[in-house]
Symmetry: C2
Subunit: 223 residues, 2 copies
């Protein structure tokens, strides 16, 4: 009646094995961080520790592949186009974008590995943040100015305007962090909340931009 213990050693095609190791590594490092040992990782995968080094020459190279999958493979290059498509009203664009964005990064492995690597100050993490700023945040600032009938800013947007737009972004990210890092917050009616956040943001945008403009004018009186 005992299940016939299937052959302890199962042979896989190299591509399949590499893929399996990579996925296992993502799950394992997301749980325990990148200081987790290769032996425990191998045990999670049901393979021997030394096999890892046939497919990845060093632990660091495996970690780098994990970074690549988590950071690069999860970026949708259509986001920027979606955000700047002025044939649709801004609130609609923001809602569509943040629903898609939320959907694509609201995963245990993604958010935790992002944080682990950011805390390590990995360059790939810094590049991700820079990309986020240049391709999403700065364009949203510009779209807000256009939406409000303000003149397009020459050069980079003002830091305060950027910060204001980030406050909307923060709401989404922090919700994901609460679920997967702080381990509270039930999975909840997220699309409804995104509509609410965006509407609240847009409703107050005119007043907020006005106050920021006034603030910056008073900050540099000699212009």
């Amino acid at each position: 009646m005992t299940a016939p213990a299937r052959s302890a050693r199962q042979r896989l095609a190299p591509d399949a094995r590499q893929q399996q190791i990579l996925e296992g590594a993502i799950a394992y490092f997301a749980e325990f961080g990148f200081d987790g040992g290769t032996r425990a990782l191998a045990q999670h995968l049901g393979i021997s520790q030394s096999l890892l080094f046939r497919y990845f020459p060093t632990k660091a190279s495996l970690v780098d592949r994990v970074y690549e999958v988590v950071f690069l493979q999860r970026w949708n290059s259509r986001w920027q186009g979606l955000l700047t498509d002025r044939s649709r009203p801004l609130p609609e664009r923001l809602k569509a974008f943040y629903k898609d964005y939320n959907h694509s990064i609201d995963r245990y492995e993604v958010i935790r590995i992002s944080l682990f690597s950011a805390l390590r100050k990995e360059s790939i993490s810094q590049r991700y943040v820079a990309r986020l700023r240049e391709q999403l945040i700065v364009p949203i600032v510009a779209e807000c100015r256009a939406h409000l009938g303000l003149p397009a800013a020459a050069g980079l947007p003002s830091p305060l305007e950027e910060q204001l737009v980030l406050s909307l972004h923060a709401t989404i990210i922090y919700g994901i962090m609460r679920r997967h890092v702080f381990d509270v917050a039930p999975p909840l009616d997220e699309d409804f909340l995104i509509d609410l956040y965006v509407d609240s943001f847009v409703a107050h945008a005119a007043e907020s931009f006005r106050r920021i403009g006034a603030r910056e004018a008073e900050r540099r009186p000699a212009s």
Copy 2:
């Protein structure tokens, strides 16, 4: 002309040495995480590695002390009273609270150690989050209902209302994380931004709570 190398071995009173180690450990673990080695920590402190174990029996006990200092010592028990003091208008209370809160946790060591320990699922981190919810978030929800003239909720607040209030909270926390974890975002006119966030939140609160009420009514039609 060479500085007279001060005696390599400097003798300190036990209390002073323990304090010095603790502070050095906070700085070191905030930078490198809790998997950083005891040797490197000792080197940062300019002492020998074995001396650490005279003042803390194990590395884990040192880490626990670091947790205590970062989490418990930075909690102001007057926050709850400040938030629920209905002799002052709600926006004023929220602004005062968040300025103080921001000021007390916007520190490199605090935010990074909080994240490291949350990722490790340390129980002290979970207790902190629970306390945050019970003593700050839930009361703010109740104060918002009162401010809006809504009946006080029986028992716990609705999850959606809680999430809405957390969106304000997220704005503050995420700004701190951007500075100390993602290493972007200049230190910026924070009190001005907090005023802006709170005003924006309160201005739209009536509409937001109304929509949440409607949403929850439709979710459980048979009540």
